[in-house]
């Protein structure tokens, strides 16, 4: 190899070295930048965990103060709820009864209607009907709850009063019915998604046996989608239990231990609204009751979600 060529190669490698080291350093800064961005993005994702922790912290810390003054036993068994009176009683059952009755009415509307609509849309409806119905349901779920509240108080209640003489102006029935209408889109759309996810081959298997549409829908598709349908019901229950404004407007806000939907009653949520509307000093026992009530609400939704999770897993089919 001639020397000139060797020096040329040496020169080349020197150039290459500098290029490489330059690239390396650029790679280093680029790497740092990438790591930094990843960290920012990670923080955003992790932030959601802090929201949950924040919720738990606020509810628990205020409730702890509350339960120092009110025993858990009284809280669970007392049949009166008069936290703002001189003779204060803190029986959560009173609020719970309102929540359960109104949710029961709502679910009695939303579960059957939502399920039937889901089966209809997924298995029966022609394409054109589905094209119209799905956006309509979505719009229905976009109506603000305060508007539903107005509708319950000033449209549905007078209507019901014509049917049920003596029905008070505030009642759980009207609020529950409207809540049911409000929840239909959630139940219907989640159930429908679950049914559409059932593979076509399973339907074909049923049709190939000479089954009708109705038989295929009820005997094959619905059982196959059961886990998703359960999830839809649980979502509906959470919505009903957590709904606030319809009840605050149309069900009255006086505490009333009742299982009768035609009576007015406060719920856990409408009690919180009532207290917040007033002017309670920060740190007073009245202020703390709403956190105890909120904690009860959270525990209930949590319980339903866990139940839903268990049921969903139980019904989950791998197809």
């Amino acid at each position: 190899m001639p020397p000139s060529s060797a020096s040329y190669i040496e020169g080349l490698s020197a150039v290459a070295e500098s290029v490489i080291s330059d690239r390396l350093s650029r790679r280093k800064t680029r790497h740092l930048r990438e790591r930094f961005i990843e960290f920012i993005l990670f923080s955003a994702a992790a932030f959601s965990v802090f929201v949950t922790l924040g919720i738990v912290y606020v509810l628990v810390s205020e409730s702890v103060v509350f339960f120092r003054q009110v025993s858990v036993w009284d809280f669970l068994t007392d049949t009166q709820w008069t936290p703002l009176f001189d003779d204060a009683h803190y029986g959560i059952m009173v609020l719970l009864s309102g929540t359960l009755v109104s949710s029961g009415v709502a679910l009695a509307v939303a579960v059957p209607l939502g399920t039937i609509i889901a089966i209809y849309l997924s298995e029966f409806a022609p394409f054109s009907v589905r094209e119209v119905a799905k956006p309509l349901l979505e719009l229905l779920s976009g109506v603000p709850t305060v508007v539903y509240g107005y509708f319950a108080l000033l449209f549905v209640t007078p209507l019901l009063q014509a049917l049920i003489p003596g029905l008070p102006g505030f009642n759980l029935l009207s609020a529950g019915l409207v809540m049911g209408i409000m929840i239909i889109p959630y139940v219907a759309s989640v159930s429908e998604d679950a049914m559409r996810a059932v593979p076509m081959s399973m339907r074909e298997g049923s049709y190939a046996m000479g089954a009708t549409r109705f038989q295929t829908a009820t005997r094959v598709v619905t059982p196959a989608a059961l886990s998703g349908i359960t999830a839809a019901y649980i979502l509906g229950i959470s919505r009903a239990v957590g709904e606030t404004m319809i009840l605050a407007i149309a069900a009255g806000m006086q505490p009333n231990l009742t299982w009768n939907p035609t009576e007015p009653a406060a719920t856990i949520t409408s009690f919180i609204v009532q207290v917040a509307l007033g002017d309670l000093p920060h740190g007073s026992i009245g202020y703390q009751t709403i956190f105890a009530a909120g904690l009860t609400l959270m525990l209930m939704t949590l319980a339903f979600n866990v139940l839903g999770h268990v049921l969903t897993r139980r019904f989950r089919q791998a197809y």
């Binding site: 959601s48 349901l137 107005y150 709403i290 979600n305």
Partner: protein, 307 residues
Amino acid sequence: MDQAALGEIRDLINRHKRWDLIFAAVGLLCLGIAALTFTALVIDMALDGAPRLSADFFTNFPSRRPAQAGILSAWVGSTLVMLVTAAAAIPVGVSAAVYLEEYAPKNLLTAIIEINITNLAGVPSIVYGLLALGLFVYAFGFGQSILSAGLTLGLLILPVVIVATREAIRSIPSAIREAAYAVGATKWGTTWDHVLPYSLPGIMTGVIIGMARAIGETAPIITIGALSFIAFLPPAPIQGEFPFLSFEWLMAPFTVMPIQMFNWTSRPEAAFHQNAAAAGLVLLLMTLSMNALAIYIRYQLRKRIKW
């Protein structure tokens, strides 16, 4: 198969098929009930409220005299609260979604974050109000301000934004990412130049639906103690003199549309109910048109893009 047996089968099929018809009718009926309720709600609101909808209604403050009451402070308040909500929820929500879709390793922490977001979506809105009351209003000292309300609603719609963004990002085929990597793009370069722009319409639909939900939310804002009678406007964000921008409005007391409507609904006088209906109509138009816009964007998206 002989004719007798065939006849028997045909009878059986006809009996069974009757159920198809019955169910189809019941299904349509149920849809009809939902559609009818929706129509009744809109018409009821329009009949009660339309007479009150005049220019004055938008430029007047609330008043003790129903005929002179308006929603000026309410719609200004709603607008400002929405600004804060958007500024809080969009960057955090989109970043979180990008992390979970593009970066997150499959490990316990990621699983916890994912489960947590699903659960947050199921937390009743009033609980967010309690969180805000304890944290923003008292612990952080933001008071009963636009800032507190906007952040509260921002947290509330965070799961909506995250879920919609993740779906949008997931629908982009990995071939697009590979094409970018193949020419030497970094992960963030690929995300910023390709993944985010292409998923923008999907992200937009999520953000719009989230905002539509936030604008109609009442319970959490009542819980932080927003006042319902506000006869003044917060300080303007743009000032006439240096430094022209002011953030005093963030700390100002406020009211929003749904609270104004709630306030009028809970009064006994029928004249105030008309005001409530008018405010409800405005609110309904706002949320419905936002939802319709989101549905439209998604529809266009489905029609246009075929990966």
